[in-house]
């Protein structure tokens, strides 16, 4: 009986521990994680930058990772055309040339800005939380009326030879037009 009690206590504790990170994972981050692979569907990469047949589409988180397992779960079983989606976490932009899409999240706005600078005009779709200044990616998340929405800097995407479909632009709160 005591063993049973001990066992049920342990399992309750284990369950609590297991669910703790899940509960801590805010809905905001889950929604953002769900958005990331979807963005890729509405973006066309230049032919040289597309994943070759059989090769994965690489979705990177550069800097600190706010999503945790949520992102892995969001891409699980998802395909982009013929490619599986591979999540790669990088602490810096070293190796970023393998990314097709990068969520860039530095410790500060300054750090994010530097990482974006280093990615430069490589054909990487950059996504950030920061909305203003140079720390802003091609797609930047915003919270509006309690919902996750996003703005699109189409001019920046054009400089990296990426083309964003009108459907994605239509959902965006605002679009900085390509000139």
């Amino acid at each position: 009986m005591r063993r049973l009690l001990a066992f049920s206590l342990t399992s309750a504790l284990a369950a609590a521990l297991a669910s703790a990170p899940a509960a801590a994972q805010s809905l905001e981050q889950s929604v953002k994680a769900a958005f990331l692979p979807k963005f890729a569907r509405y973006v066309t990469w230049p032919p040289t930058a597309r994943p070759s047949p059989g090769q994965p589409f690489v979705l990177c988180v550069i800097g600190s990772d706010p999503f945790g397992a949520a992102l892995d779960r969001a891409v699980a079983g998802q395909q982009l055309e013929q490619s599986a989606i591979l999540v790669r976490r990088l602490s810096s932009t070293a190796g970023a040339d393998s990314c097709h899409l990068a969520f860039v999240h530095g410790a500060s706005a300054k750090a994010t800005e530097q990482m974006l600078d280093q990615i430069g005009r490589a054909p990487v779709l950059t996504v950030t939380d920061s909305r203003y200044g140079n720390a802003r990616g091609m797609i930047h998340f915003a919270i509006n009326r309690g919902r996750v929405s996003f703005h699109v800097d189409d001019a920046m995407a054009a400089r990296s030879s990426l083309s964003i479909s009108s459907r994605l632009l239509g959902v965006a709160m605002s679009v900085r037009q390509r000139s």
Binding site: A23, S30, A34, N134, H151
Partner: protein
């Protein structure tokens, strides 16, 4: 489209009434899984309400109160071409069009051109009620409706954080951040009664800022004669302005301004001119605290038939927000000074002195205490002092309880005052009318309770009830104990109002939404013992017992939208005007991504009808139909 998401998913979080959202403090206990979210389209994902985040963008009015928010899509789809007509979308406001340019708008009673004096309206924080009579000259404000981000309409005193004159309600109009209006927009509408044209252009300023400039013009034909009054109310004008937003990281800066010039017919030179400029700076001090400073200057000059009224306003306000544990604290102070000139060559009623500088200052503090995950207590206190009043203490206590994820129950008790206006204190016409040097603030203690929630997956509902106790409402009486001239204004009416406000949305199909609204009002006032009211309770206004609205929004195809609205307003009693049922509609076609064409109409069920019972001013309203286009470039 986004309603599908509610099926099979449980969420917590913010509870949205028809457009009105209350951020909840509760942690997420049962949220959709990432796998479920991954099944949604990008459009649906953009509609998922996320709790934790909402606090960050918490609107001023997030205090539990009867709040209706006119959202950006509602504004874009409205057939209204002017701000007061747009405000008809709020079920908790009563709107009377008086003539082609003037409107009387109120919440919870006292409507009328002279009596709608208990409402505060703000455009980006700039107060637009006039200290002349505490009412609002709506015709002075013609912002580009396409620039509006949202309009929060609070019925009731609205809490601590709004400025002076928030007695029966608050209308807080916010325009879009300039960074959200890049590129060009042109709009033109034309109909038999009105033509409008507007153009706006927004451009980036470096990487952290943007600016937009706009110009607009309108020409409105006068309304047909009313039951008892007929005058020439043709109205035309221009307004232009700009807004600049700048800031990356911890500082955000906004500078905006408008200039306008309108004409009316009766006498050459009649019309209104004005300009304003506003600066706002917000600094994030830490993750948990921020400070905001806002200053503005506003000036206008109104001329009509031998009357000149001008007002210059300077206003400075600062506000500090911080979170400490379970406490969300706001502290602030504001000061405003106005200098007016009221020159009346039309009749013998004058303000004495003709020109005067007034001051109003206030300090305010509010603490929102999370008693537990589900229960919050809000304590607020404002101390306000004006040139015409001593220190008025305006406390309010609010309780918000979220018994489950889809329900918010709230209640509030507040004290509010309308401090004396220039007319209340200094209008005279000797030997008939003497100044009321003793005129005091009109006082209100408001008791409110409400429910806001999502009773089913496709339904949102907000219900609020109120019981308002008024004292010292304006009357007119003899100065002598036994009667005789002169007469003067006094504070001898007291009484109560009560009512229910209800609104909700029902998503019938992914492409079809219905909105319902109802507001009722009961009034029971008496003149205090030993006093008379020679004005026969004119200051109580002229209100319908109920007002009901129904709106239907349909997306017939991805490019074709059809909306219509029905509204019913009960009879007005004093003076009488018949109640009415009327309709508006709008059919819009998005020809390309950048071009929208539409036809719209208002007052469709009548050639013409009475709307305001005002015997001296009211013209009839008539059916209007117009065609319009919006082009983005």
């Amino acid at each position: 489209m986004h309603m599908r998401i509610f099926q099979g998913l449980h969420f917590v979080g913010i509870i949205c009434g028809a457009g009105a959202c209350a951020p909840a403090r509760a942690e997420i206990v049962d949220q959709p899984s990432v796998e479920q979210l991954s099944q949604l389209s990008i459009e649906e994902l953009a509609q998922v309400e996320v709790t934790a985040a909402s606090k960050r963008a918490e609107p001023l009015s997030a205090a539990p109160a009867a709040v209706y928010v006119i959202t950006e899509p509602e504004i874009a789809r409205s057939p209204a071409t002017s701000l007061p007509d747009l405000l008809r979308q709020a079920p908790n406001l009563q709107t009377q069009q008086i003539d082609a340019r003037s409107y009387a708008i109120t919440a919870r009673g006292f409507n009328g051109a002279e009596t709608a004096n208990k409402l505060l309206a703000l455009i980006d924080g700039r107060s637009i009620y006039t200290p002349l009579f505490s009412g609002i000259f709506w015709e002075l404000h013609n912002p580009l409706l396409e620039d509006l981000h949202q309009i929060e309409v609070v019925s009731g005193p609205g809490g601590t954080l709004f400025g002076p004159n928030a007695v029966n309600g608050v209308v807080s109009i916010t325009t879009k951040d300039a960074r959200d209006t890049l590129g060009g927009l042109a709009r033109a509408t034309a109909g038999a009664r009105e033509r409008t044209a507007a153009v706006r252009y927004g451009f980036a300023l470096g990487d952290a800022g943007a600016m937009r400039v706009y110009a607009s013009a309108f020409e409105r034909q006068g309304l047909p004669a009313g039951a008892r009054a007929d005058f020439d109310d043709d109205f035309r004008g221009v307004q232009a302005g700009f807004r600049l937003d700048y800031g990356a990281g911890d500082d955000a800066f906004t500078l905006q301004g408008d200039v306008f010039d309108t004409d009316l017919d009766p006498m050459p030179g009649d019309g209104d001119k004005g300009h304003n400029i506003l600066a706002r700076w917000t600094k994030r001090l830490s993750d948990r605290s921020s400070v905001q400073v806002r200053a503005y200057y506003d000036s206008y000059d109104r001329r009509a038939i031998l009357v000149r009224d001008s007002l210059d306003t300077f206003d400075l306000e600062t506000q500090f927000n911080a979170t400490w544990g379970a406490h969300d604290v706001v502290l602030g102070a504001g000061v405003r000074t106005t200098k007016d000139l009221f020159d009346n060559d039309l009749n013998a009623f004058v303000l004495n002195p003709e020109s005067k500088r007034l001051w109003v200052a206030n300090f305010f503090g509010q603490d929102r205490i999370a008693l537990n995950d589900r229960l919050s207590l809000i304590l607020g206190l404002k101390a306000e002092r004006s040139s015409f009043s001593g220190i008025e203490l305006l406390p309010n206590v609010r309780l918000a309880w979220q018994p489950n994820d889809r329900t918010l129950l709230w209640s509030a008790v507040s004290r509010a005052v309308r401090t004396p206006s220039r007319i209340d204190r200094q209008l005279e016409n000797l030997p008939l009318l003497a100044q009321a040097t003793e005129f005091e603030s009109e006082k209100l203690i408001a008791f409110e309770a409400g429910y806001r929630g999502q009773p089913s997956d496709s339904t949102t509902l907000s219900v609020s009830v109120f019981y308002n106790l008024y004292d010292d409402i304006r009357t007119t009486e003899f100065t002598g104990p036994t009667g005789g001239l002169p007469i003067r204004l006094a504070n001898s009416l007291e009484g109560e109002t009560y009512g229910v406000e209800l609104w909700g949305t029902q998503q019938i199909a992914p492409w079809w939404q219905l909105r319902l609204g109802l507001a009722t009002l009961g009034k029971n006032f008496h003149v205090k013992e030993g006093h008379v009211d020679l004005a026969n309770r004119a200051s109580l206004g002229n209100d319908p017992d109920f007002k009901a609205t129904l709106r239907s929004q349909m997306d017939l195809t991805s490019r074709l939208a059809f909306d219509f609205g029905l509204r019913a307003s009960d009879d007005l009693d004093n003076p009488p005007a018949k109640g009415y049922i009327d309709a508006d509609a709008r059919l819009a076609w998005r020809a390309t991504d950048g071009i929208e064409l539409y036809v719209a109409g208002n007052n469709l069920l009548h050639d013409r009808r009475d709307e305001s019972g005002d015997p001296k001013r009211a013209q009839s309203v008539e059916r209007t139909i117009y065609a319009g286009t919006r082009v983005r470039f």
